[in-house]
């Protein structure tokens, strides 16, 4: 207790030197939390969007031939619904999706697209499929995304011809009406594709009760009975996203490390300078009855208290920024279209207990360590040498 009192007195007595140290540490602390919370927030938004919009919370069943990165697989990637899901499909508890390649001719230009059929009543994927209802024209209703609309010039109410190959390989064509344009952050459900009712696509392709993939709300237990289907869990589906986040995190961690090093350097320098300049003071303390161990503890405590004060200052000074970033977010200039990520124009910071406690604990433990390291020299100091300032 006495050492706490003395350390506090030394810190307060040191005045500006203490507050400069505290402010450097506090700024580093704020920037570390801020930087990490933005990356964490970005990751959270990304996972959330991909899971809820593209995949479904329970993962997906894929046709065994289906590979979204290989268009040549799409032709054969369709099979009859798995029997285990008959009831769930009938009650729209899962999203059945049939994928076919097709061609459209917006403004007279030919464009290859993916035609995706989906049950309009599904609620597994956060897509406005309920909008895909037949209008007054009686044509097949189609849903497209904002990016697709901007690229092709298609607008709500437009009618366009879609050409495709049926199961027998014969080319066929049908007119569809754009009934809704959705705005989504997930580009992979938007670019170069149109969504129509699965029953229409099945009918057009002569693939009754067949699908390419099925999005689930709950993980699939066991293995599908039909070898035509394989279960892809969220770990598999989010693998690319996770790799991307890992890459982003690596960059963030470098910044985190630099800030961390600056903060620790401030403490370390102060401690080294203190021990160099305050030898006579140490000798005096020993002469008055402090043991070497207590002198070491006192100087370590002084350094560590810089950290404690910095955390307090960091929380007080950083709170408005942390609050603003969590509630109003960080608007990315020019949007995120070119990042290739499923992010909106605003990133909201996310502060988990792990981030706050982890950063605080890590910084504090290291502050104590760098406060203590230079003081080890004191253990070799005799009171008489210290008094002479040697």
């Amino acid at each position: 207790m006495i050492l706490f009192k003395l350390a506090w007195r030394n810190l307060v007595g040191a005045g500006l030197r203490t507050w400069l140290n505290v402010m450097v540490l506090a700024m580093a602390f704020i920037l570390m939390i801020w930087g990490k919370s933005v990356v964490d927030g970005m990751a959270y938004q990304l996972y959330d969007a991909m899971t809820n919009i593209e995949f479904g919370t329970g993962g997906q069943l894929w046709h065994s031939e289906y590979d979204p990165l290989d268009p040549l697989t799409i032709e054969d990637a369709h099979a009859a619904y798995p029997q285990e899901l008959t009831d769930a499909i009938a009650s729209d508890e899962v999203a059945t999706i049939l994928v076919r390649q097709g061609t459209i001719y917006p403004e007279g230009r030919m464009q290859t697209i993916m035609v995706k059929g989906i049950n309009p009543g599904q609620k597994v994927m956060d897509l406005p499929t309920y909008e895909i209802v037949v209008g007054p024209t009686g044509l097949t209703p189609a849903l497209i995304g904002r990016r697709m609309s901007e690229k092709t010039g298609l607008k709500r109410g437009d009618i366009l011809t879609v050409r495709w190959r049926d199961a027998g390989g014969t080319f066929d064509a049908r007119e569809v009406e754009i009934v809704h344009i959705m705005d989504t952050v997930v580009q992979t459900v938007d670019r170069n594709q149109i969504w129509i009712p699965i029953s229409d696509l099945q009918d057009m392709s002569d693939m009754e009760d067949q699908a390419t993939m099925i999005a689930l709300t709950e993980p699939f237990e066991g293995t599908p009975a039909s070898p035509a289907w394989v279960y892809r869990d969220l770990d598999f589906l989010l693998r690319d996203t996770k790799d991307m986040i890992t890459a982003k995190n690596a960059g963030g961690n470098i910044m985190y490390g630099i800030l961390f090093a600056i903060a620790l350097l401030a403490i370390f320098d102060t401690q080294v300078l203190s021990i160099f300049r305050r030898k006579k003071e140490m000798g005096t303390l020993m002469a008055m009855g402090l043991t070497r161990a207590k002198v070491i503890a006192l100087f370590t405590l002084e350094g560590s208290m810089n950290g404690i004060l910095a955390f307090g200052a960091g929380f007080i000074l950083g709170a408005p920024l942390f609050y603003y970033m969590a509630v109003h977010g960080y608007t990315i200039p020019g949007g995120t279209e070119d990042f290739g990520m499923a992010l909106g124009n605003t990133i909201y910071a996310k502060y988990g207990a792990g981030l706050m406690l982890g950063t605080t604990s890590l910084l504090f433990a290291t502050v104590v360590l760098v406060s203590w390291l230079p003081t080890r020299k004191i253990s070799k100091l005799t009171p008489t040498d210290a008094l002479r300032g040697k």
């Binding site: 003071e281 000798g283 008055m288 009855g289 402090l290 005799t382 008489t384």
Partner: protein
């Protein structure tokens, strides 16, 4: 005043390693100091005054021989025991005052009492009393950098005396002071010695200090050359 042995050294030797050999700073010093004495170790630079003072103050260890202070054989004390011994029984006054720069005068004088675990009220009373003894109570809130050399040394005396130790060890206490301030400081110490019975031991070659001593132990080349009581 009761007279009893406070310090006793027998055959005290102190050697320092120098290169491949040793430099012998003290060569078999035999010295006895009674409680309440006002004694000085005098002699030229390098005669061993400060070394002897540091060993008696448990700041340094003897190479050979016996050193007993208040009946304790200092050679047997561990570092922690020596620190406790210094805290409880000894006061130090240094040539360069050695005040803690970030503390106020009050806090500097209070420091030894904090180590002894005195209560807030006890500390306040004892600090103000010590500052009164040295005539510097009005500077209690000042910082050391705001004080003159004489004022700083008076604060150092107050710090050494505040716990009313048995023994005060003063190493060249007037070396940085002018004549007027030196006499003022010495008169203060003579008064404290007389009023409180505190034993004072000096290491000095300052004639002004020597003129105040009641006993003068002259060291030359690490040995006692003379021991005179006035």
């Amino acid at each position: 005043m009761e007279s009893k042995t406070l310090i006793q050294t027998r055959g005290l030797v102190k050697k320092y390693p120098v290169g491949t050999g040793f430099f012998t700073a003290l060569k078999g010093v035999d010295l006895t100091v009674q409680s309440g004495e006002f004694v000085g170790l005098v002699g030229p630079s390098g005669s061993g005054k400060t070394t002897l003072l540091n060993i008696i103050g448990a700041l340094d260890a003897p190479s050979e021989g016996l050193v007993e202070v208040m009946g304790k054989d200092l050679a047997t004390l561990t570092g922690a025991q020596a620190a406790k011994h210094r805290s409880a029984f000894l006061g130090f006054i240094f040539q360069t005052y050695n005040l803690l720069p970030v503390y106020t005068v009050f806090e500097n004088v209070e420091f030894p009492l904090l180590l002894l675990g005195k209560s807030d009220s006890e500390r306040k009373e004892m600090v103000m009393q010590a500052l009164e003894w040295v005539g510097i109570a009005d500077k209690a809130k000042s910082r050391p950098k705001m004080l003159s050399g004489g004022e700083s040394q008076r604060v150092a005396i107050a710090r050494a005396m505040v716990k009313q130790p048995k023994l005060v060890l003063a190493d060249e206490p007037t070396a940085n002071l002018d004549a007027k301030n030196s006499h003022h400081i010495l008169e203060t110490m003579v008064k404290l010695n007389k009023d409180l019975g505190t034993t004072f031991m000096f290491a000095t070659h300052d004639e002004k200090v020597i003129s105040y001593l009641r006993r003068k132990v002259t060291l030359v080349d690490g040995s006692i050359q003379s021991d005179e009581t006035s």
